[in-house]
């Protein structure tokens, strides 16, 4: 049943997001064409239009990720706490299956949005000399700092866990907000900021305690610090994931408030 939920959720999400992703890639191709025209001609009007077009492309890249996030949140709200919830919650599936299928597809959609944005940037800057120089500087800097591929994987893992934590925080805020009879959206936003603030305070306090204890130790090394701070951040995020998931589950299971 979980896989069936995932299948239907994927279908619905693809219907919403494929036009957005396709539009961004098309925009990237047009931006690349504009750069090529600018490279071939030295006209001031073309330069102005090209700069404007590329600025719009940068804006579109940011908008793609934000729009994906908004669409996924709306999808969660409508299908779990809106009228569609009458069908969702009377399917012969458990609440965990419903929530995990939404979580999986939302995280995948956001990862896809980031991936498509990266592809769009690569497409827009393909064979552009200035970007090749930038890539070289980036790679050299990476080597200069002595950062290995393990560091890169830790960054990827951190981004992934942070993404899951953020999605669960939003799910929890929506679930709590929709347990109220009035002002459901307003309460959802309020609880998002409240929980986010509490989480930030706790994370900052733990990071301060960790940093001071690390700096006090006699064998302090940058690579060890990097590894340990990564582990600490991972643990904190995983604990927050658990708390947010529990809140989402308990509110959906015990305090569901469909109109």
């Amino acid at each position: 049943m979980f896989l069936k939920l995932v299948k239907h959720e994927l279908h619905e999400t693809a219907r919403m997001l494929l036009p957005v992703f396709g539009g961004l890639l098309l925009f990237a191709a047009m931006a690349r064409a504009m750069i090529w025209v600018m490279e071939q001609n030295d006209h001031v009007v073309l330069a102005f239009m090209g700069t404007l077009f590329i600025s719009l492309f940068v804006f579109a890249c940011i908008a793609c990720v934000i729009l994906t996030a908004i669409l996924m949140m709306v999808r969660f709200t409508k299908s779990v706490h809106g009228d569609e919830g009458y069908l969702t919650h009377t399917l012969p599936v458990g609440v965990h299956s419903i929530l995990l299928s939404r979580l999986l597809i939302t995280v995948l959609s956001l990862a896809a949005a980031l991936g498509v944005t990266y592809l769009a940037i690569r497409l827009c800057t393909w064979n552009v000399e200035a970007m090749e120089d930038f890539n070289m500087i980036f790679t050299s800097g990476f080597e200069y700092l002595g950062l290995d591929s393990g560091f890169l994987w830790r960054v990827v893992a951190s981004v992934f866990v942070s993404l899951v934590t953020t999605v669960l925080l939003i799910f929890a805020a929506i679930s709590i907000g929709h347990s109220f009879n009035r002002g459901k959206v307003g309460f959802s936003i309020l609880f998002y900021f409240a929980m986010n603030t509490i989480a930030s305070v706790i994370s900052t306090l733990l990071a301060l305690v960790f940093s001071s204890s690390f700096l006090d130790s006699e064998t302090a090394e940058l690579s060890t610090f990097s590894q340990q701070s990564f582990l600490l951040s991972l643990c904190i995020n995983l604990i927050f994931c658990g708390v947010y998931y529990f809140l989402t589950w308990i509110m959906t299971k015990k305090r569901l408030n469909l109109s």
Partner: protein
């Protein structure tokens, strides 16, 4: 064994009791009218049976089980709101029901839709309110469920559509299953009913066979309802 059983069931919203100490048993093979004025607790009772709400006190059992994944396989529920996604077409909705409900009879649903002249390519957003309600009812009645819970199935449709809906209910339910119809349009549903449950302010006032009302009291259900719920 009762297909639906409430034992001292209460549901409170803050300090307001939507249901208060309800005891009720619905047997298989019966069509039961859950009748009461607005705000009497009908929808709350149906939502509790579907696991959409959690009781404050007491318990509700479906086929001897508390609401959960297993009871959702037995219950076919028609809420008073349209729960179908606007972007879906009829074919996609049929596939959705077929995927999740093992007892869904797609051929029966397709035949009823065809009878109404609703093409499978039509999207929900292209339908009128009445057509959406008919599609939803067809989906619900195309399941071979043990318990049908229909919340205001004729509330928002014209009299001709009401006849179609009532004929669909009577023509498609499994005689071994129970049907609970919540409504305040009593005159329309009266010919279908075997039993009535009168509910007010979260209390069950009466649970009586319709024949008893007609034969012993010499009244119609509609007349008795108007008498018992008269507004002074």
């Amino acid at each position: 064994m009762s297909i639906l059983s409430c034992e001292n069931l209460s549901k409170h919203y803050g300090t307001v009791a939507a249901l208060d100490g309800v005891n009720l048993n619905i047997e298989p093979g019966r069509i039961v009218g859950l009748l009461g004025p607005n705000g009497s607790g009908k929808t709350t009772l149906i939502k509790l049976a579907n696991g959409l709400l959690t009781p404050t006190e007491g318990r509700i059992l479906i086929g001897g089980m508390e609401p959960g994944v297993e009871t959702k396989k037995l219950v076919s529920y028609l809420p008073e709101r349209t729960y179908l996604a606007n972007w879906m077409n009829v074919k996609q909705i049929l596939s959705y029901f077929e995927d999740f409900y093992a007892d869904f009879d797609r051929e029966r649903a397709a035949a009823m839709l065809s009878h109404l002249g609703i093409p499978e390519t039509q999207r929900i957003r292209q339908m009128s309110k009445g057509t959406r309600e008919k599609v939803q009812l067809i989906l619900v009645m195309s399941r071979r469920a043990k318990l049908y819970l229909l919340d205001e199935p004729i509330g928002g449709v014209d009299p001709a559509a009401r006849d179609y809906i009532l004929n669909t209910i009577i023509g498609n339910y499994d005689p071994q299953a129970a049907v609970v119809i919540s409504t305040h349009l009593i005159a329309d549903v009266e010919p279908l009913l075997d039993e009535v449950v009168f509910i007010q302010n979260g209390h069950i006032l009466r649970h009586t066979p319709v024949d008893e009302i007609r034969e012993q009291m010499g009244k119609s259900v509609d007349a008795l309802f108007r008498e018992e719920f008269r507004c002074f």
